[in-house]
C-alpha cells in the first residue's frame, strides 16, 4: 500500500510546486481569514481576561453610590445592607488642574486616600514613587497616563483649584487604576491623556478642602456573589436619599468600564463578521481553482484509474493537495494573527491603561481555526472531489469535444456584430461559462465589499465628529460650575477676556422610569432656541426645545421603550428631589450617549428653584484664548472646562491611530483577496486556453492582442464586480452599523464617495498586478508545442 502511494505523493508535491503561485494565493486568503480570527478572538479573550484579573486583583468596585454629603458613620449601615461584601467611603470631586507648560486649564478628578496606603476597593498600582505622607497635605498621587503626557515625575508640582481655592500640590507617585483604564473626562468621547488628570490626596486634606470632615460623598461597594444588584441599588438610593444621592450605579454605567466593554463588543463583532467573509472567499477560490485544475487533469485521472488505482485513492490524492494548501493557509493565518495580535495589544496598552496586557490566544482558537479552514476546504472542493470519484476512466482518457458555443443569447449576437473577433471571444466565453464568471465576479466584489465595510467606519466617525462639533455643539468652551449658580453668573463668565457670547445650561441627575425600565441619566436644560449647543433632528435641523416635556435621544427612548407623547417618570436626584410624570415631547437622533433635554425654565419650575444654571457654553475670540484660559484657571467657581477644539483633535488623533491602522491592514487583506481571485482566474484561464492563445500567436496575432483576449475578460469581470462590490460594501457597512449600536455610540451609515473610490482603486490595482503577473506567462507561450499536441 505504501509503495502504491509513493509515486502519487511525488506527483502531489510536483503538482503543488507547479501551481505554487495559485496555491499561495489561496493560502493567503485563508490566512487572512484565520489571521483576522486569531487576532480578534485572541485579543478579545486577552482583553477580557486581563480586565477580569485586573479588576479582581485591585478590587474594582461593583457599585458606586455618590451623595452630596453623608456622615462617615453611615458606612456601617451600608455594609449591613444585604448583598454587600465590603464597602468603603471616599471623597471624589472635580478639579481644575494647571500644569506648567499647559495653556488651557485641565479638567480632572481628585479622590481621597485612606491614611494608610491605598484604598481597599478600587485600589491602584503604584508604578513609580511613594504614597503621600499622611501629614503632608500637599502631597498627591497622580494618574500615570496624565503624568506621562505632561512629563511629570514624582517631585514635580501641579496646581489645582480645590473647591475654589488654588493649591500647589506635589506629586509623590504615579499610579494605574482600574477605575481609569479608559481615562476619560465625563462628557468627552475619546480619552485625552493630556486633558484629563486624576489625583489622589489624603482623606483629611481633601475633607478640609471640600468641607467634608467626618463625611464622604461617595460610597464604593463590592457585592457578594449571587446578590441582586438592582435591589441593592434601590436600597442604597433609599438609604442615601436624604444625603443627596444622585443615584447608585453598577459597572455597566461606570464610564471606563463602559468604554472597555464597548471595545470588547466591537472586537467580538469583528471576529464574528469579518473572518467568515474571508473564509467564504477562500471557499469560492478553492471551488474554482481545484474544480478547474481537476478538469485539466481528467486524462491523468483516467489513466490512474485505468492502471487500477481505486476511486478513493485518486480522490484522496486530490484531497491531500487541498489539505496541504489549506494547512499552509492556516499556518500563515496563525502567524499573521499572532503578529497582528501583539501589535494590537501594544496599541491597546497605549489606549487602555492596564498594568499588563499580554496577547494570548487560547488553544481552542487554533483548533477552531484549523477546523473551520478544513470545513471551508471541504465545502469548497466537495463537488470537484466527487467528480474525480465519478469520472469513468474510458471517458476521461478521450479528450473532451470542443466546447459548444452555438447556443448563444440573441442580445449577445446582436452586440457581437459590432465588435471585433477577440471581443466576441471574450463575450461568448463569459456567456458559455456563466457560473465561472459569476464566481470570479463575486470573489472580486467581496474583496471590494470587505474594504468598504471595514473602512467606512472612518467616514462615519468623521461625519459623527463633524456633526457633533460643528452642528450640535458649536461652542468653543464648556464651563461647569462647582455648584448650580444663579443665571447672573453668565455675566461673570462673559466678563472674562475673549468671551464673545455665552449660553446657560443646567444638568441635573435623574432616574428615568418607564414601568420596570429605569435609567440613571442626566437631563440637560437648555434655552428655547440655543445657538451654541443645540438639539438637531435627523436632517440636522435645529429642534427647538418645547416649553413642556422632555426630549429624548432615540437610543434612550429605545432603552426605556417610550414613545413621543407618552409619560415618563422623572425622579430628580438633587435639590428638593421632586418626582413627577413628564410627557416625552420629542425623540431626536443622536450618535453619542443617551441624552435627555428640557427647557431650562421648565426644568427650574420642576425643581421649584429660581433660574439656576450648572454652567455655560461659550464662544471665545480665537485671538484671546490664552488670556481666557488664564482667567478660567483662576476662577474659583469653575469645576470643569471642556475645550471643543482639543476634544476634536484628540478624536482625530485616536481615529488615525486605531482605525487608520485597522483600515490599512484591511486594505492589504482586501488587496490580497482581489489578487488571489484575479490571479487564480487568469492562471487557470491560461492553462485552459493556452493552446488556443498560442495558435493565435502562430496565426500572427501579437502578444498584446493575445493578452487582450485573456486579460480583457478579467478586466470586464473586474469592471462588473465594481458596482456589486459597492453594494456588498454597503450591506456589510449596514450590518456593522446595526451591531455597533451601543449606548455610547451609534455609527451613522455614511460611506463617502472617496471610500468607494479607494476600494475600487485597490481592487483595480490588485487586478492589474495579477494581470501583469499572468501576462508574463502569456509572453512565454510555447508556440511550437501547439502545432503538435492536442490538449
Amino acid at each position: 500500500m505504501l509503495e502504491l502511494f509513493k509515486p502519487l505523493d511525488r506527483k502531489l508535491l510536483r503538482d503543488l510546486w507547479a501551481i505554487k503561485g495559485q496555491a499561495l494565493a489561496i493560502a493567503l486568503v485563508i490566512g487572512c481569514g484565520i489571521g483576522m480570527y486569531v487576532m480578534s478572538k485572541g485579543m478579545l479573550v486577552s482583553l477580557a481576561e486581563t480586565r477580569a484579573a485586573y479588576y479582581e486583583r485591585y478590587r474594582f468596585a461593583n457599585v458606586w453610590a455618590p451623595v452630596k454629603r453623608a456622615p462617615d458613620a453611615l458606612l456601617d449601615t451600608i455594609v449591613a445592607l444585604p448583598g454587600v461584601r465590603r464597602a468603603e467611603t471616599r471623597i471624589r470631586a472635580g478639579v481644575i488642574l494647571d500644569v506648567e507648560g499647559a495653556v488651557a486649564p485641565i479638567t480632572g478628578e481628585i479622590q481621597s486616600l485612606p491614611a494608610i496606603r491605598g484604598p481597599h476597593i478600587n485600589d491602584f498600582v503604584l508604578r513609580q514613587g511613594r504614597y503621600p505622607d499622611p501629614v503632608r497635605e500637599e502631597e498627591v498621587l497622580a494618574l500615570d497616563a496624565f503624568a506621562e503626557a505632561h512629563k511629570l515625575l514624582p517631585g514635580d508640582h501641579v496646581h489645582a483649584i480645590l473647591n475654589g481655592t488654588k493649591k500647589k500640590l506635589t506629586i509623590t507617585g504615579l499610579v494605574l487604576a482600574p477605575e481609569y483604564v479608559y481615562a476619560i473626562s465625563p462628557g468627552e468621547i475619546v480619552p485625552d491623556k493630556k486633558r484629563f488628570g486624576v489625583l489622589w490626596m489624603s482623606r483629611d486634606a481633601l475633607g478640609h478642602a471640600f468641607d467634608l470632615d467626618g463625611a464622604f460623598n461617595e460610597a464604593v461597594l463590592l457585592t457578594s456573589t449571587g446578590s441582586h444588584e438592582e435591589a441593592l441599588l434601590d436600597r442604597l438610593d433609599r438609604l442615601l436619599k436624604r444625603y443627596g444621592a444622585t443615584g447608585a450605579y453598577g459597572r455597566e454605567q461606570q464610564i471606563s468600564d463602559q468604554f472597555l466593554t464597548n471595545e470588547i463588543d466591537q472586537l467580538e463583532t469583528m471576529g464574528k463578521l469579518l473572518p467568515p467573509i474571508f473564509l467564504l472567499v477562500a471557499t469560492f477560490l478553492l471551488n474554482v481553482v481545484i474544480g478547474r485544475l481537476i478538469d485539466t487533469e481528467r486524462e491523468q485521472i483516467g489513466l490512474l484509474k485505468a492502471f487500477g488505482y481505486r476511486d478513493t485513492t485518486v480522490a484522496l490524492h486530490y484531497m491531500k493537495m487541498i489539505g496541504a494548501v489549506t494547512l499552509v493557509g492556516v499556518v500563515i493565518g496563525i502567524v499573521l494573527g499572532l503578529w497582528l495580535g501583539h501589535g494590537l495589544a501594544n496599541m491597546y496598552q497605549d489606549y487602555f491603561k492596564f498594568p499588563f496586557l499580554l496577547f494570548r490566544a487560547p488553544p481552542d482558537v487554533y483548533l477552531v481555526a484549523v477546523g473551520f479552514s478544513l470545513l471551508v476546504a471541504g465545502v469548497g472542493t466537495f463537488s470537484s472531489v466527487r467528480r474525480v470519484v465519478q469520472l469513468d476512466p474510458a471517458v476521461a482518457m478521450v479528450p473532451p469535444p470542443p466546447p459548444d458555443y452555438s447556443r448563444s443569447a440573441r442580445w449577445l449576437e446582436l452586440l457581437a456584430r459590432w465588435i471585433d473577433q477577440p471581443s466576441r471571444m471574450i463575450l461568448r466565453h463569459l456567456y458559455r461559462w456563466p457560473r465561472r464568471a459569476a464566481m470570479t465576479c463575486i470573489g472580486i466584489a467581496m474583496s471590494m465589499g470587505l474594504l468598504i465595510g471595514s473602512s467606512f467606519s472612518l467616514d462615519a466617525m468623521i461625519y459623527m465628529v463633524d456633526i457633533s462639533f460643528n452642528v450640535i455643539d458649536r461652542q468653543d468652551v464648556t464651563v461647569s460650575f462647582v455648584e448650580p449658580r444663579n443665571i447672573r453668573a453668565i455675566q461673570d463668565v462673559l466678563h472674562a477676556p475673549g468671551a464673545i457670547s455665552a449660553e446657560p445650561f443646567r444638568a441635573i441627575p435623574v432616574v428615568l422610569r418607564n414601568g420596570p425600565r429605569s435609567r440613571r441619566e442626566a437631563i440637560i436644560g437648555l434655552g428655547q432656541s440655543p445657538e451654541l449647543s443645540r438639539v438637531v433632528d435627523t436632517q440636522l435641523r435645529p429642534v427647538p426645545i418645547p416649553e413642556q416635556g422632555i426630549v429624548l435621544s432615540d437610543k434612550l427612548a429605545e432603552l426605556l421603550q417610550v414613545r413621543e407623547g407618552e409619560l415618563l417618570r422623572v425622579e430628580v436626584r438633587t435639590g428638593r428631589r421632586p418626582e413627577l410624570d413628564v410627557p416625552v415631547s420629542g425623540v431626536v437622533k443622536t450618535y453619542m450617549g443617551t441624552a435627555a433635554y428640557m427647557d431650562l425654565e421648565a426644568m427650574n419650575r420642576m425643581l421649584k428653584e429660581d433660574t439656576a444654571i450648572s454652567g455655560s457654553y461659550l464662544l471665545v475670540d480665537p485671538d484671546h484664548t490664552e488670556a481666557f484660559y488664564q482667567a478660567l484657571k483662576n476662577t474659583p467657581v469653575v469645576a470643569g472646562v471642556s475645550l471643543q477644539e482639543q476634544a476634536q483633535k484628540a478624536f482625530y488623533d485616536t481615529l488615525q491611530e486605531s482605525l487608520g491602522t485597522f483600515v490599512f491592514f484591511n486594505t492589504i487583506f482586501a488587496g490580497l483577496i482581489a489578487l488571489g481571485v484575479v490571479y487564480n482566474s487568469a492562471r487557470i484561464s491560461l492553462s485552459e486556453r493556452g493552446r488556443e492563445l498560442a495558435s493565435l500567436r502562430v496565426l500572427g496575432l501579437t502578444r498584446g492582442e493575445v493578452s487582450y483576449i485573456l486579460l480583457g475578460e478579467l478586466a470586464l469581470l473586474t469592471l462588473i464586480a465594481l458596482p456589486i462590490g459597492a453594494l456588498l460594501g454597503y450591506l456589510l457597512a449596514w450590518t456593522l452599523v446595526q451591531s455597533f449600536n451601543t449606548e455610547l455610540f451609534r455609527i451613522p451609515l455614511i460611506i463617502s464617495p472617496s471610500t468607494y473610490g479607494y476600494a475600487a482603486l485597490v481592487v483595480v490595482l490588485s487586478a492589474l498586478a495579477s494581470g501583469l503577473l499572468v501576462n508574463r506567462r502569456v509572453q512565454k507561450l510555447d508556440l511550437i508545442a501547439v502545432l503538435k499536441t492536442r490538449e
Partner: protein, 238 residues
Amino acid sequence: MDNKQLPAFRAEGLTKVYGSGESTVYALRGVDLAVPRGEMVVLLGPSGSGKSTLLNILGGLDSPTDGRVFFDNQELTAFDDRHLTRFRREHVGFVFQFYNLIPSLTARENVALVTEIAQDPMSPEKALELVGLGQRMDHFPAQLSGGEQQRVAIARAIAKQPRVLFCDEPTGALDSKTGIVVLEAIARVNRELGTTAMVITHNAAIAGMANRVLTMADGQIQHTEVNARPCEPRELSW
C-alpha cells in the same frame, strides 16, 4: 531586383541543437534548401527526422542554432520577435494537425479573426467558398466534422492571401476520404492563388500531388525529387 526570380525561401546551413553536453540532440544538421515560388512542396520523413523543426524555422516560430533563412531578400534569422510576428501576420498561413480553431467563434468569425488584422485579405466568405464551406459559415467548431474544421483552418490560413502556406500533418487526424477533401482545398489554393505551399506528412502517398518532394532523415534532406506531373488529390489513395 525582380522578386519573381527569387525562391520563396532559401536556407543555408540550418542547424538546430537541443540541450547540451551528453543530452545534445541534433534536430537539423546543416540543411540547405531553396523553395521555388508557387510550388507545392511535400516534406516526407519519419518522426524525429527534423521536418517539423525545419517548418517551424521557415515559418518564423523558431530560430536555428546556426545558419540563415531568407524570405524574399529578407533574412528571417535576423528578425526579432516583433518582426517575426509581423512576418507571420502578413505573409504566412498555418494549418495544424488538430485544426486549433477557436471554439467560441463561428467558421466565418474564425476566418475574420485573421482578415481583421491582415493587410490585403479576401473576404472570409470567399475564403470559405474556396474550401467548399460556403454553406456552413455560421456554424461553430463544435457543430462541424473534423474535415470541415480542417477546411475552416485552411480558409483561415489563406484568407489573408499569404505568400506561403505551412501545413503540419493536415490530414493526420482525418480518415482518407476526408483527408483528400482537405488536400484538394490546399491544392486549389496553391493553384488558384499561386500560394507556395509546404505540407509536412509521413504519409508517402500524399507526395504524388507535389511539385517537389523533400525526404528528410536524421536532420538532413536525404533527397529531393521533382515531380513533373503532379496528380490531383482525388487520384491519391492510402
